[in-house]
């Protein structure tokens, strides 16, 4: 066994909270535990972190808030040693802190509770909680002490009902979250980073978590708490830091600001003048092309109803994980809908048994939010990607007519001004913006009537964004209907005719865009229906 691992064990044998007391004996003033200054991190063309500063005091609960993509999770990964910053400095209790790995961060007493659960489903609760710090004698697993220590940790969380020997795969989602939290506590951390720990918890479990956080706080453990939900933040945090576009833009005591001020910090960016001018139209006379009623695809999508008319752009706002993507996927037949109806051009479609092939045939088109993962076949050529959904247009008896394919591709490329050397060039060699244009060109080539666009401008440069907006507006002018899901509020305000907000799996009524303000959208997305949540819990 490595000496490092042995050190972990030794480190964790220190009785609960003891090393804190040893280390901080004689300290009266609340001292800075973690100091982050001017952290930068770049992923390819996108600047994820662009100068973040944060001072965390001992025993402080700091809320880290910001819109999706503001860099919160990246920052957490930097602190927890999974990512290395490009430049910038971190100090832990005055000493320079440069974690080389998650293990190193753990040795320094930093624990990260991930947004996505990271448990081993095949192992027992005890084995998961004590992973990496198992009780053992000469490599021999001491199950009794393992279970005893696990029970002790579970008890501090008032969840003695979770049995240490249960397999994690047999636990419900909220219980798994609890196990994950317990794992961080079991490691005797000094700083716990919580990345949206309540996203899958019931209300009473949230309260237990808060009680636990308060307890940790009293023992001098600091917490960085990421959440979208302002009411939670108000309940638990002492102070806040707002991240916007990878920068820390505001820091202060939570009691001294209003929700409105916080939201203003989060969304407060000027709307660039990059949206095409669209003449205001009345859609009253237009016929409804797509109507969705009470569509549900558990667990994320609970209920969504809307109608979409020809020539209209309907925006859907909402936080990540609120069920926006499942909605689009359920409509397109990628996810199984459990109930609800979908009516296309007056004809009822099978909502539950839909497949993407059927939807393509019914002239729906879909652009995935995950361009690299499922949007494009990255190693195929531009031509293949664009004609993929309608090879029929350039083939006969199953034989591809390559020259016809080239001509059709060139037409699409020119109309969208995709920058590619050749139509035979692999899509992976294009820039992100041009890749996204190829994804959009596929829908145009497919000649879809209804365009389902999930984050159509995620991670692309301003120039490509303008081009994409232009194309979307043009599609609307051609009387196609567009459903646009986006996290980027200015683009929804710049493009949409109507807007609906998704919150915790429920879609609000669609209202004309002029009836919304960025603040009211944020409010609807963040506030959600707390009462609904409570009802669901009971």
């Amino acid at each position: 066994m490595s000496d490092k691992l042995q050190f972990v064990v030794a480190f964790n044998e220190v009785p609960y909270g003891r090393h804190d007391k040893l280390k901080f004996a004689g300290q009266c003033e609340p001292m800075t535990v973690l100091s982050i200054s001017d952290i930068h991190k770049r992923f390819g063309p996108t600047l994820a972190l662009d100068g973040v500063n944060l001072q965390l005091r001992k025993g402080e609960v700091r809320a880290l808030i910001g819109e999706n993509g503001a860099g919160k999770s990246t920052l957490m990964n930097v602190v927890a040693g999974s990512l290395r910053p490009d430049h910038g400095k971190m100090e832990l209790e005055g000493d320079p802190y440069e974690p080389s790995s998650p293990l190193d961060a753990r040795l320094h007493g930093i624990a990260l509770i991930h947004q996505e659960l990271s448990l081993c489903p095949h192992l027992s609760v005890a084995e998961n909680i004590m992973m990496g710090i198992e009780s053992s004698r000469l490599g021999w697993l001491d199950r009794q002490s393992l279970h005893a220590r696990t029970l002790e940790v579970l008890k501090t969380f008032h969840h003695a009902d979770i049995r240490p020997e249960t397999r994690v795969a047999d636990l419900s989602l909220p219980s798994r979250q609890i196990v994950e939290t317990c794992r961080a506590i079991a490691a005797r951390a000094r700083i716990i980073l919580m990345d949206e720990p309540t996203s899958s918890l019931q209300r009473d479990d949230v309260e237990r978590l808060f009680a636990l956080i308060r307890k940790l706080k009293n023992e001098g453990i600091s917490v960085i708490y990421i959440s979208h939900f302002l009411e939670e933040v108000r309940e638990i945090a002492d102070s806040f830091t707002v991240l916007r576009d990878g920068k820390s833009v505001a820091t202060g005591e939570i009691a001294s600001v209003t929700d409105e001020q916080l939201i203003a910090h989060m969304v407060g960016r000027p709307v660039e003048n990059l949206f095409p001018h669209r003449s205001a139209k009345s859609f009253e006379g237009q016929d409804t092309i797509l109507e969705v009623r009470d569509l549900a695809a558990p667990p994320l999508l609970k209920r969504a109803s809307f109608e979409l008319r020809r020539g209209e752009i309907l925006g859907i706002a909402g936080l990540m994980g609120s069920g926006r993507t499942p909605l689009v996927r359920a409509i397109f037949g990628l996810d199984k809908a459990e109930s609800g109806t979908i009516t296309l051009k007056g004809k009822a479609l099978s909502a539950r048994g839909g497949t993407p092939a059927m939807r393509l045939f019914q002239r729906l088109g879909y652009v995935s939010e995950d361009r690299k993962g499922e949007g494009l076949a990255l190693r195929l050529s531009v031509a293949d990607n664009i004609t993929l959904t309608r090879f029929a247009s350039c083939s006969r008896w199953g034989w591809l007519d390559l020259s016809r394919q080239r001509k059709q591709t060139e037409r699409q490329i020119n109309s969208l001004s995709v920058k590619a050397r050749s139509v035979r060039q692999p899509v992976s060699t294009l820039s992100g913006g041009n890749q996204q244009k190829v994804a959009l060109a596929r829908l145009l080539h497919q000649d879809a009537d209804v365009l389902l666009l999930d984050e159509p401008t995620r991670g692309i440069d301003i120039g490509s964004k303008a081009q994409v907006y232009e194309t979307i507006a043009q599609c609307a002018a051609e009387n196609r209907a567009i459903l646009m899901v986006s996290s980027y509020l200015p683009e929804l305000f710049g493009m949409c005719d109507r807007l609906a907000v998704m919150s915790r799996g429920r879609l609000s009524a669609a209202k004309p865009i002029d009836d919304w303000t960025p603040e009211s959208v944020m409010q609807a997305a963040i506030g959600g229906d707390e009462s609904d949540q409570r009802n669901a819990a009971e």
Binding site: L119, P121, H122, W140, I162, P174
Partner: protein, 387 residues
């Protein structure tokens, strides 16, 4: 409430039944196979003699399956088993021929298997430098051996190996900063490559012909009638049983064993919890390699010669044994006990087909079908649990 409701069935009868079924599922399969062939064959199927035959035939696949279970549970795969068996068999035979004592020859065979496994692990985790010096050491050792040196190179090489290890790591730390670029290769490809390399090395060492060995106790490892009659079963069978028991306990009751499961269940989580996943993988492949080396010794003992072309395709039998026994190729699942039953199922099938006088091709078709059916039944069972 939802949370609690889901945990109560912990004690319910259906969960109990499920657990029980999971445990005895492979045994039921084995019982079924035995029953079918018992009715089909005339008489001798369950005689002590035939049982000895079957157990003797199982030994090689069973020992291989112990190592393979560890690898598959950790989410990996090893396709080089057949070639490693040939290589280590040849090494044992060549060592015996060179006049080394049987114990040293057997140790050499086992250690050679371990080295191959170690190289597999190093290639998979991308520790290129370590691979290079291992290959260098092996090459020098083989050259020395072929040049006529015998016992001395063994000891000298071990010392040389250690020296080089420290020298290299010192140089690496001193001059190239903290981390080296790594080029990990997925287990499938890494071990597919090793399949060729090990087979070729075996042929090189054996001079492309079988190596006959002098009469020693090594040849008696899986005989039908062991020399002290009170042993009842061949020493090889006992070795396999003991190793299986040890491996089962290690997987269940040691930190190492549980980390193997953690690695296969969720590698990201394991690493986030401070488990040194790379090191763990190297250990797993190395340990499994030792077992494959032992399987090679058994193979040599059975043929009474080192044959560099033997055991082609054995890796598939070994993998099939693990999979029939409930191992999941996506990792996190599998038991030694199940794998042993899987190996027995295949041995009983082969033997039964031979007794009836069916052709070889019938066996192959049946075994192929059994693998698919076993996995399908397993998936069906787990899907029902999830629902």
């Amino acid at each position: 409430m939802v949370a609690e409701a889901k945990q109560i069935p912990d004690f319910s009868f259906s969960t109990f039944l499920q657990k029980w079924l999971n445990r005895v599922g492979p045994i039921l399969g084995l019982a079924l196979v035995i029953l079918i062939f018992y009715t089909l064959t005339p008489g001798h199927y369950l005689s002590t003699f035939n049982l000895r035959v079957v157990l003797g035939q199982t030994v090689i696949v069973a020992i291989g399956a112990i190592g393979m279970t560890m690898i598959i549970v950790s989410g990996g795969i090893d396709l080089s088993v057949g070639s490693v068996i040939a290589l280590t068999g040849v090494i044992t035979a060549v060592s015996l021929n060179a006049g080394l004592s049987p114990a040293i020859a057997v140790t050499a065979g086992i250690l050679a298997g371990g080295s191959v496994g170690l190289v597999n692990g190093l290639v998979i985790t991308g520790l290129t430098f370590h691979v290079l010096y291992f290959v260098l050491v092996a090459w020098i050792e083989i050259l020395l051996f072929r040049a006529g040196f015998r016992l001395i190179p063994m000891a000298a090489c071990l010392g040389f190996l250690l020296l080089l290890r420290f020298l290299l790591s010192f140089i690496i730390r001193r001059f190239s900063g903290r981390t080296l670029p790594r080029f990990g290769v997925v287990p499938f490809i890494a071990t597919l490559g090793m399949l060729g390399v090990a087979r070729g090395t075996a042929k090189w060492l054996a001079g492309e012909q079988t190596v006959n060995v002098p009469e020693t106790w090594v040849n008696e490892l899986i005989v039908l009638f062991p020399r002290p009659a009170w042993l009842l079963l061949a020493p090889g069978v006992w070795v396999a049983i003991i190793l299986a028991v040890i491996a089962a306990i290690v997987l269940r009751n040691t930190v190492f064993g549980r980390r193997v499961f953690a690695l296969g269940s969720n590698e990201v989580a394991a690493r986030a919890c401070g488990i040194a996943t790379d090191r763990l993988k190297i250990w797993i492949y190395g340990l499994a390699g030792l077992l494959f080396g032992l399987a090679g010794v058994m193979q040599m003992s059975r043929l009474r010669q080192g044959d560099p072309t033997v055991a082609a395709g054995t890796e598939l039998d070994v993998i099939a044994a693990v999979v029939i026994g409930g191992g999941s190729l996506s990792g996190g699942e599998g038991t030694i006990f199940g794998s042993m039953i899987g190996a027995l199922i295949m041995a009983f099938l082969r033997n039964g087909c031979q007794q009836i006088g069916w052709h070889n091709y019938v066996q192959e078709i049946i075994i192929g079908a059994i693998i698919v059916i076993a996995v399908a039944v397993d998936r069906w069972r787990t899907a029902r649990v999830a629902a």
